[in-house]
């Protein structure tokens, strides 16, 4: 059974991704690991894939996406890093490179083997982990967690695992198609990047398993209902189940506040986070600027504002007129004739 695991990120997340791949190698040295990167290395940083803890790199620009530069411009960094997940997964299925394909967000890390997932994929073709597997009881938690999941998606797409045939392959094609056209953060329109789409999965596909084991995809949004314990045998348990992987969303003060709000005196949660922060710090290369993204700016170095992307996204005439909007033409139009003309 050949298993392929991939993550999608930019160079500012390379430190987190390194930690993920290190943990993947520890538990699954025989699985193929792929880094799907939508970025270019920052000046001064020498990127040597051979010395990284993953097997190979796939650049988003090599996925064969039609009119790639224009398509890329229509997305901000979160949108595009989630959008490329679909095309890559579909291509893995088409190529027959693996029996099982697993996506993990770069800010996840393994604490135990994921073998039970492989077993689940004997009886199912698609595995998803919901944000919540237990309803919250108090109003603040419902506002923070339940309603947030209702808006942004029932399942957290920091993880998805499929068989590369059957319903898994059909899902990958459908996801590819939707993400190429509709992978935006536009909640009023019913979109939240790649994630909200997957609310449809149990309705559209057979052989779907909702993984309700609390040891998978532990994160600040479900800590209100998950208690972490570390035993004298050395196991880390979540509600009594082995911790498989944690989703370290929002590394920094914002994440700390949400974690403290819901972990309370469950100090084992802070132990897990402490380790992660130390591991990420050790994996951080100071040559990479903190918020680096090569495609966050026009070719002349001017930052791209979100409204500039949104307008380009909405107007096919602009897309036709400026097939490479990173080059000067669209920028000049924006200033002379577009919304930028008023300063």
């Amino acid at each position: 059974m050949k298993v392929l695991v991939y993550s999608s990120f930019t160079f500012s997340y390379l430190n987190r991704a390194r930690v993920l791949y290190q943990t993947l190698r520890r538990f699954h040295p025989d699985w193929e690991t792929v880094a799907l990167i939508t970025d270019e290395p920052p000046p001064g940083f020498v990127f040597d894939p051979a010395s990284e803890p993953f097997d190979r790199v796939v650049w988003a620009k090599d996925l064969g996406i039609e009119a790639f530069r224009g398509w890329l411009f229509r997305h901000d960094v979160v949108e595009v890093c989630t959008a490329v997940k679909g095309p890559f997964l579909h291509q893995v299925c088409e190529a027959g490179e693996a029996d099982i394909a697993i996506y993990l967000d770069p800010d996840t890390a393994l604490f135990a083997p994921l073998d039970p997932l492989v077993e689940m994929l004997g009886a199912s073709d698609i595995l998803l982990t919901p944000h919540l597997i237990d309803p919250n009881d108090d109003r603040a938690s419902i506002l923070d967690n339940d309603l947030s999941a209702s808006r942004t998606g029932i399942f957290n797409l920091g993880f998805v695992a499929i068989r590369t045939t059957g319903e898994g392959a059909r899902f990958a094609r459908w996801w590819n198609d939707r993400l190429l056209a509709f992978c935006y953060d536009d909640i009023p329109s019913g979109l939240f990047v790649d994630q909200k789409w997957c609310d449809h999965v149990p309705a559209l596909f057979d052989r779907v398993k909702v993984v309700r084991d609390p040891g998978y995809n532990v994160a600040s949004w479900n800590l209100s209902k998950r208690k972490v314990a570390i035993t004298r045998d050395g196991e880390i348990l979540v509600n009594g189940a082995t911790l498989r992987f944690w989703h370290f969303t929002k590394l920094g003060p914002t994440g700390d506040v949400m974690t403290k709000r819901y972990a309370g005196d469950n100090f084992e949660v802070y132990e897990v986070w402490r380790w992660y922060k130390e591991a990420v710090a050790a994996a951080t290369d100071p040559a990479i600027p903190e918020r680096w993204w090569a495609h966050g700016q026009f070719d002349d170095g001017a930052p791209i504002a979100k409204p500039q992307r949104v307008l380009y996204r909405e107007r096919t005439d602009l897309q036709a007129a400026f097939p490479d909007p990173f080059a000067g033409g669209y920028q000049a139009w924006w200033k002379a004739e577009g919304p930028g003309r008023n300063g």
């Binding site: 604490f111 944000h131 050395g234 506040v257 403290k260 972990a263 005196d265 100090f267 802070y270």
Partner: protein, 674 residues
Amino acid sequence: MGQGDVPERKRRALATAFDPVFYRTVYDDIARVGADPFLHYVETGWREGRDPAPWFSVSAYLERYPEADGGDPFAHYLLRGWSEGCEPSPSRHRERFLERIGASRKPITIAPVSTPSEVEIPEPVASVHVDPDVHVEPDLLVDPDPQGEPAPDLPPGLTLEAARALIAADFDPAFYLSANPDVAAAGQDPLEHYLLAGRWEGRDPRPGFKAADYLEVNPDVAASGMDPFLHWLVAGRAERRPLRFELGFRGRIVAGLVPLQARMAAAARAAAGIAADRPRGLAPLSAASQAAGLHVTFSHDDFTKRIGGVQLCLQAESKGLVRRGIDHLHVFPAVPWPTLRPAGGRVPLGVVWNGRTLGHFAVGDILKALGKRRAGPRTTLAVHSLLGHEIGETLDILAAAGARRGLFWLHDFAGLCAGYHLMRDEARDCGAPPAGSAACRVCVFGPGRDLHLSAHRRLFEALDLTLVAPSQAALDTWSAAPDAPAATAVQVHPHARLVPSGRFAEAAEGPLTIAFLGMPSAYKGWPVFTDLAERFRDDPRYRFVRLGSAAAPGAPADHIEVSVTADNPHAMREALDSARVDVAILWSLCRETFSFAAYEAAAAGAAILTGPDSGNIAAFTRTGGHGLVLPDEASLFAQFESGAVQSLSRKVRRPEICEIEYSGMSVDLLEALS
């Protein structure tokens, strides 16, 4: 996950974060016409570019995040911007606002002190019943003019004098001086110091209020730049804002952990500053000797200079050797190390010869000096601790001395892990799980575990060592560890025993006296004791004391000064007896291998209260009937809540006072070795 735009949620978010005092203070026209500041902001204010709070600038936010244009930028931030990493900028009116309410970070000119009766002090807000589900406009609670018609020159918020009076009413001068010995030493008035400097330096005004914690749990207050204590007094208390995230003391320990590599690097830097003494200082090692033998010991420090359990053992060992006419060479690291020392980078080692410190020497010089020594009739060894030692050097020194047979003392569990108390992340007993376990991988000591295990395995394989445990409990822990190195033999040899004196403890009248003994460190259970003492500090049934050499600043217990020394080893027992201590809280979080404190408490007639993870304290307490072993901290608090702990008073128990008879430590065992 993103945030949606739900009207009810939006209203709640805005109402919670909006600052009506700020709004009325900086926009005079609002106060003048008597408009409701919140409604004004929601309906027209944000469109006019007015700011809703001192920490939020509408115009700056729009400039930075143009995607927020088209709606209220404040709502955008509160509902989704913060979660996407958007950062607000302070209002350009902030400084003016803070100055007007007397909360500016700028140097404050203190007006002549007004007595509380001369200033208008708001109603004591804590007495106002607040339904947590009902939003309370903070301005209603602090507005000095309930008619809503402030005089044109008066700010509608607090005056500086009112702020001073408000702080004074809730400020604890005794606590402040205790927690800030520098202020006490300078003879400064504590309140004046707090007002002028302390509150901006992060100093805390009273027990139970930590400025840093308040700011963390209330990020809007932090962003506003206001004095957090003043904020709590005028608004936060009425709003029932949390004072802190309730992480528990273990969570706080984890938050303060320093990575092991950083600790080791700090030790290496300190060691680099130590110059080796000239080798002639080692002459006594090479001199012709009539001694009956040589005994070589290793530990983590100079036992002649410091005091503690291991040092007491070595002092007794050294004296016993002198009495038997055996030379004693003791080797220790020149600076304290948190772990064993990895190979590479030689640093000097300290040398004590027959109880006299000779200095710090290069390892090569020590080896040469031992090489010149004429082989004696017998050479033995005892390893008390290898912290700070590099195993290769240790084995070289022992080989040069001709020592192969000896004792390995189980004073701690450094033979199993760099976390030699077996406290995972210094927060909880770990039980020494398998080295590759998930627990060890997340633990701060995880990266040092292999170093300790492999070095000790090498030690035990190279030498003929008897593992000596000061208690059966310590030996049981070692034996149960799956990775423990194998010793030639094992033996339990307690450091002391109790000898009944025939005298019974005198009962004391008054409250039950509860004591903490020794260093106020977390692994000895100090946070548990302080939580207990703070909870019951005003309870007339109890009195809390701490017996130790130095006072613990800000401690919620009376300090009784006690220094245990080689000349006065019974000082703690005598102080416990003299203070009529009823109960000793020996809530060690780690597995104590012996615990002199437990013997001292029992000898003085104090009952011991301990927890399940305290190693030999729990075993000693249970087997000797010296007190209670409780299952958890909740049970400890329950004992005090119900008063059940009163059954442990000296009056009820009438315990017998005991003498403590110390063993000869290694010397008792050397005969068997030879």
